[in-house]
């Protein structure tokens, strides 16, 4: 187990190639739910949870169903089925067992089904940790940790953006740039700032 490499995966997913700012994954919810900080935090937590869970489950599906049956070409359809079910299931469980948690976190779950960051993380996991020569147990840990880190990276970008947008809401952004356009400009500038992490040597 190479902990340095694992750490590098974490730093990479959060900062260097942040899912939102560098890989353009999960933009719809990034733009939609970054209007206020509280929703952003709730959404972020939900995404972290689902990304980790989805990484975990898809690893099993890939390694114990698709690979043995030699039908890896079905991974897209299998993964999305898994994610959709997972999200819906978790939402139902949370709504029933903990209304408070549902209010703060669960309501963001449906939004995640179609969050391409979740499917994205599953696909990236396959490309980076499963088809490579990593031993199986290592690939499992890398997959789950990567899912978690990618979720954290998404959440980081989301709450930073939410705080900025709350401030911009009180400002004088030109009429035509209000809302989504200025969000993209801010995202662009955030991406420029995040370029400072490029080439970070960790691990």
């Amino acid at each position: 187990m190479d902990y340095g490499q694992l750490f590098a995966v974490v730093i990479g997913a959060i900062f260097i190639s942040n899912f939102v700012l560098m890989r353009f994954l999960g933009l719809c919810p990034f733009v939609g739910v970054s209007k206020d900080s509280d929703s952003a935090l709730g959404m972020g937590m939900a995404v972290i949870f689902v990304m980790t869970m989805a990484s975990l489950v898809t690893w099993f599906v890939y390694n114990y169903v698709l690979v043995p049956l030699e039908i890896t070409y079905l991974r897209t359809i299998a993964f999305i089925l898994v994610i959709a079910t997972l999200v819906q299931f978790v939402e139902m469980v949370i709504e029933k067992t903990s209304p408070a948690l549902h209010k703060s976190l669960g309501i963001y779950l449906p939004l995640i089904t179609t969050n391409c960051a979740v499917l994205g993380v599953a696909v990236v996991n396959v490309n980076e940790f499963m088809v490579t020569e990593l031993p199986r147990n290592a690939s499992f840990i890398f997959t789950v940790v990567h899912g978690l880190a990618a979720g954290i990276g998404f959440t980081l970008a989301l709450i930073l953006m939410a705080a900025i947008r709350e401030r911009l809401d009180l400002g004088e952004v030109p009429e035509s740039m209000r809302g989504i356009p200025i969000t993209f400009i801010v995202a662009g500038l955030m991406a420029i700032a995040f370029m400072g992490f490029a080439g970070l040597k960790v691990g």
Binding site: L25, G26, I182, F184, G188, L189
Partner: protein, 210 residues
């Protein structure tokens, strides 16, 4: 006339990217060049068309509780078909679109249209809607891709535009360039919309006065 309307609404009035803010991820990720934009647009259009048709046909038999999973399966099937066919017959394009082909599945445009339109209309209109939206999506991708390719690489369709002395704005090819181009284009479309609306209002007021 009505059919025409369904077709062209996606280009400007209901452009999925600029107006509805859907399908943003591929719009930015794949728009590094016109070629990629066209390829992604074509792929998405095909999936849109296919899933719209199937969803429209199946709209009466699918119970609402499993509506979403069913739609997703349908869409994912079409995506996989595109993936397989592209790998076999257009391997170069498949290489450059990479990870974003499977992600067409979660392109909100497709599920959105399947839900909002195809599951409520007959096959004919659903087809037209699919094609219209696809064209709008492709248009957006080509527009963004063109801007980024010209400014960031000095090229269009892989050919130099400005000659060898041009020093391209590398940022435009990088992630920030995509965001900023998108933001400015959306802002521009808003401005355009405002202008058109004002003009229409003025015309209406003029008519009313007479």
């Amino acid at each position: 006339m009505k059919a025409m309307g369904e077709l062209v609404k996606g280009i400007y009035k209901e452009n999925p990217v600029f107006r509805l803010a859907l399908g943003l991820c591929p719009a930015l990720a794949v728009s590094t060049s016109v070629e990629n934009g066209l390829g992604m647009g074509a792929a998405a259009t095909f999936v849109l068309l296919g899933s719209n048709i199937v969803v429209s046909l199946l709209r009466k038999v699918i119970p609402s509780k499993v509506r979403i999973p069913c739609f997703i399966v349908v869409i994912a099937s079409f995506v996989t078909i595109v993936e397989l066919v592209m790998a076999a017959y257009l391997p170069e394009l498949a290489k450059s679109l990479g990870i974003f082909i499977p992600l067409i599945v979660v392109n909100c445009i497709i599920l959105g249209r399947a839900e909002a339109f195809a599951s409520k209309h007959g096959m004919g209109r659903a087809m037209l809607d699919g094609i219209g939206m696809g064209i709008g999506f492709t248009f957006a991708l080509v527009l963004i891709g063109g801007i980024r390719e010209v400014m960031g690489d000095g090229k269009l369709f892989g050919f130099m535009v400005f000659g060898p002395r041009f020093q391209p704005v590398l940022l435009m090819i990088l992630a920030p360039g995509a965001f900023i181009t998108m933001g400015l284009l959306m802002g521009y479309f808003n401005l355009l919309d405002e202008k058109l609306r004002k003009r229409a209002e003025a015309r209406k007021a003029g008519e009313g006065g007479r």
